[in-house]
Structure formats: structure tokens, C-alpha cells
Assembly symmetry: C3
Homo-oligomer: 180 residues x 3
């Protein structure tokens, strides 16, 4: 997905990115201390590293502690790109085989989940620079293209190509995004 960064550099840049994107924030310390969407990135980076080292129970434990403190559940196996901005975050569920690209924004209540019909790869692959609105469910091993915007409260069960805006239950394309 992206070039490897030192974990502390990566987290610092994540916090900077959140500060830049959220109009309600004033400084990076506020992000680091008060943003559940930042805290869960810390938990997830540790859990994901343990998961790759096959310490799967410990990885799940850290993920569940993160869920308790933030209301956000990211399975340790999920592959999260650079600079994910999780806003508010309560109720987010990201499954074990989900992949999220770089510079994405995910709002509270979003699910990147399974449909129960698939084995192994069960969860979505999300491209770069994607925005997913509050409460939206993206289900199954589908592909969401780069620069896609998905409106709040949508349900997405099929692939979405690059550079489009999608809304509804089920999601339908409503706009071609010209400037990525």
C-alpha cells in the first residue's frame, strides 16, 4: 500500500493530518489527547504488528481494549493505509481481511464487513483518498476505487469504480468526481 514509516513518525503525521482536516480542532496536542479516531490508530498499529508476528490472542486483546476506550473496532488483521482520518468513530467495525488505502476519511458508524457468504477474503478493499459517510455499510470482498465518495447511510454491496460519488440503499452513482 505505502512506503514503510517508523511507527512514531507515522502517528505524528496521522495526528497532523487529522488536525488539518477537522475544522473543530485547534492543535495537534488536542488531537493526540482527545481524539478517539487517533487513539484507535495507536491501538491498531500495535495490534496489527502482533497479528503479523502470529501473537493473535494478544493482538485481539489490544484491539478489544481499543474498542472499549474508543467505540471503534478494527480487527488486528485489517490493513490500514497512511493518514486514515476517523471522525467521531463510535460504532465503526472494520473486518479482518479489509484493506483501506491512503488518505481516506471514515465517519462514525461505518462498517467494512462481510456478508457471511465468502471464505478467506471476506471484507472490502478500499482505494486511496476515499471518503465514507456516517453509518454506511460496505459489505463483502468488493473493491472501492480511488477518490470515491460514499454518502451517509448508504449500503454498498458491489464494486465501485474510481472517481465517483455514490449514495443510497443500495448505493447508486450520483456524480462523477472531477477533481480528485
Amino acid at each position: 500500500m505505502s512506503k514503510k514509516e517508523n511507527i512514531f513518525v507515522s502517528l505524528y503525521r496521522d495526528a497532523k493530518n487529522i488536525q488539518k482536516k477537522d475544522p473543530a480542532t485547534r492543535n495537534i496536542l488536542e488531537v493526540m489527547l482527545l481524539y478517539p479516531g487517533f487513539h484507535i490508530l495507536v491501538y491498531h498499529k500495535v495490534a496489527h504488528a502482533l497479528y503479523k508476528l502470529k501473537f493473535k490472542f494478544l493482538a485481539r486483546l489490544i484491539s478489544q481494549i481499543g474498542r472499549f476506550f474508543t467505540g471503534i473496532e478494527i480487527h488486528p488483521g485489517a490493513q490500514i493505509g497512511k493518514r486514515l482520518f476517523i471522525d467521531h468513530g463510535m460504532g465503526i467495525v472494520i473486518g479482518e481481511t479489509a484493506e483501506v488505502g491512503d488518505y481516506c476519511t471514515i465517519y462514525h458508524g461505518v462498517t467494512l464487513g462481510g456478508t457471511g457468504k465468502d471464505k478467506n477474503k471476506r471484507h472490502p478493499t478500499v482505494g486511496n483518498n476515499v471518503l465514507i459517510g456516517a453509518g454506511t455499510k460496505v459489505l463483502g470482498p468488493i473493491n472501492i476505487g480511488d477518490n470515491v465518495k460514499i454518502g451517509a447511510g448508504s449500503v454498498i454491496l458491489k464494486d465501485i469504480k474510481d472517481n465517483v460519488t455514490v449514495v443510497g440503499v443500495p448505493g447508486k452513482i450520483v456524480k462523477i468526481n472531477t477533481a480528485p
Copy 2:
């Protein structure tokens, strides 16, 4: 709903059932220690027993402690069948007069709630072997048949007969389920 089981036997079987159904789980200890969807069954069995003994304040207290630790709110009065599998669970609300059959699966964000128009029986009655997808709201004293599947993000305000798949806002039948 179902033959009476000793509470410990019941919880052990609940954990076994979760392990069997969740592809991300490895063993029953992991379920017992790390699954909010299992923990809330423990809280609810205690709260429901106290509720039936008319210790209603204590029952609510335990239910609210369970909500704090799991993000799942089941009113002590709700009647829950055998082997309920709650996956992820954050944001689930199950009302006082709701009834859930045996072998059901309920995802995070589901509401079995009221519409504000009814007295006494205000919440849904759900059959056996029903699956309710993430974020779906089932509202009012309606009946959901056996072997029903309800897609994620749906809103259900009317009775649903046995053996069908329903999706949408409001929910519409999209499939007859042949093998229950």
C-alpha cells in the same frame, strides 16, 4: 421459547455457538474473554433473572453496566432465546418487550425498538434462526418469521413471514429462502 438450561451450561453452549459461527475466532476461551457479544449474554441472563424476581432497579443497573462494557443495550425485560450470536454488537438496542427466538444472529447497530405508538407490548417478536444485518432497525410490536434474513441498513415496520430475505428502507422481500 426453549427448554430451560442451567445458566452455566447455557453460557458454555452460547460460547461454543459463537466460536462455530465466527470465521475470525480460534477457540472458545477467546470468545469468553474477548467477545462483547458473549459478555452481554452473561449480563443479560443475570439482569433478566432479577427482573423476573421484581428487582427491577438492580436489573437495570446490571443492564447499564453491561452497556458500558460492551456497547450493547438489552433491557432486562427482553426475552432472548438460546444461542443468540451477537457479532461486534456496538450500538445494539433491544427493548423491554422484545422477544428473540433461538439460533438468531444479530449484528452491531441493530435496534429492536418501539415506535412510540404502542402500550404494553411495544417491541418486535423475532422467530428462530433469524439473521439481522448491521444497522437495521426493527420497530413496533411486529412479528418476524422463522428463518428470515434482513439485510444491513434496513428499516422494518411490518410483519415478515417465514423463510424470506428482506432488504431496504422500508424493507421489501427480495428472495424466498429455500434451505432454512
Copy 3:
């Protein structure tokens, strides 16, 4: 919005109001001790007072502590009217520039949020005596009239006039409310 009340009088009346409106409650002590929808009003009144005094970091801290204990996130800047009844509450997000009138009812999973397109005033203004159903997203600096009812699972992106019932994704008027 409403005549100024002493904070303790206001909270007492808020609890009385919740007790009156919730058929599952028995007395005001139960509301004060066990209702997250009451607790968050306490947190918010303190956070909002600090916000107006420009102690913005402290205000956010109290708001985030409230989110941790209740699952409800109200930005300290949000202007909340008298007698708000938040039922269940998990997953609610109310943005910095949102305004909520008097005697409103808001269910769990509701968002009064932004669309990312606006500066300064970014969140909805909600009238008096409005009911917003579970999981509904109301987004952007729009106006929701008095005595409006919005069904569960709706997405609202445009102004709504007084005295109507709205449901769907996106929300459509389905009824004129005769008796406010």
C-alpha cells in the same frame, strides 16, 4: 432559544421530563442514576459553559469523558434547548454549530453533522418539539422546522418545514402532523 434556568433546576426538570416520556422508567432516581441520555446533559451543560468562557480544551475534555461514559458525543459548542430527551443514545454525534430547540427527542445513532462543504455554520438547526428516529443522519447547515418527526434510518440533507413527518434515504414528506 429558552429563558435561562439555574443549572440544577434545569437538570431536575430534564430528569422529570425523561421519566414522563419513557414508558420503561419508574422514577426520577432511576433516570438520574441509570440514564446515559440524562448523564450526557450534565456533561454538556458543564462543557458548554466552559466553551463559552473560552476554556475550549477543558470543554472538549469533558465532552470526551462524557462520550466515554455514555457513548454520546455532543460538541461543547452545540446549543441544546430545554428538556432534550435522548433515548438509549449510543452513537449519537452532535456537531459544534448544531442547534437543537426545546422539548426534542433524539434516539440512538442520530447524527446532527456536517457535509464537509461549509465553513463556520456547518451543522443543522433543529426546531422545537422535534423527534428524530434511531440512526437518522441530518447533515449540513439546514433547518428542521417545529413539530417535525423524522423516521428511523433516514438521511436528511435539505430543509424541512414545520409540522411534517419525513422518512427515507433521502427523506421525503409522508404526512402532515395535525396536532403538534
